[in-house]
Symmetry: C2
Subunit: 109 residues, 2 copies
DNA sequence: CTATTATTCAACCTTTTGGTTAAGTAATAA
DNA sequence: TTATTACTTAACCAAAAGGTTGAATAATAG
């Protein structure tokens, strides 16, 4: 039970993987390109990507010889919801917060 | 770098530890009482609590022969900020977020 | 002082994690 | 057809994680 939260949080518990996720925010990437900025082997990156896949935080889709990595925001959201529902983040209304932030932006301009 | 996010997320990546945190939401607890609902040894719970301590998610304070476990919400918040600032809440102003939360609380009373 | 209670520590075990290198597969380019 | 490119897999390793039991420590109760 709660197996996926386990996997999501565990996946986020490694800074290499968090960096990969941040990179994927910008665009989908091929495995080789994901590996490029890191100082570890391609095989190690391949394993990190498998962990991210199993957690649901990314999906990988093969087209030709290239395997594309694509961020899956909704998986992260599962973990975010757990945190939000925890303590002071209880029943946090994200939409309301977004509206609030926009208003703040206008006020501070 | 980002060592503490590593530890916080890793700590959250275990359902026993997440359950402990939920228990501590209600009140501070002694180690023995934390262990009570679980099917594992006291020593194992003691280790889980050490991991939670090192992550900063709890603090333990010894009074007499009892060691009290106390939730530290701000540590969880570090991880929450990372998640919130990921993707849809880019450039999140946490002060604004706190103000928002306070307003929300007042509104829901 | 002696038991009891609360908790940790030490030694051990198994599985997982994060890394390596070398070989294997599969698609494309020459 | 033969390289080359883009990966994954296999075999290995060291360290960490999550568990166990049994002994140690330390505070309180009797």
């Amino acid at each position: 039970m709660n197996n996926n939260l386990d996997k999501i949080f565990a996946a986020l518990g490694d800074s290499t993987r968090r960096e990969i996720l941040i990179m994927l925010l910008e665009d989908d990437m091929a495995v080789t390109d994901v590996a490029e900025p890191f100082d570890i082997s391609l095989a190690a990156i391949s394993k990190h990507l498998q962990i991210l896949s199993k957690s649901g935080l990314i999906v990988q889709e093969k087209r030709g010889r290239v395997k594309w990595c694509k961020l899956q925001m909704h998986a992260m959201r599962d973990a975010a919801i757990w945190m939000e529902s925890f303590g002071q983040f209880e029943q946090l209304n994200f939409d309301a917060f977004e509206i609030f932030l926009k208003q703040e932006k206008i006020l501070h301009k």
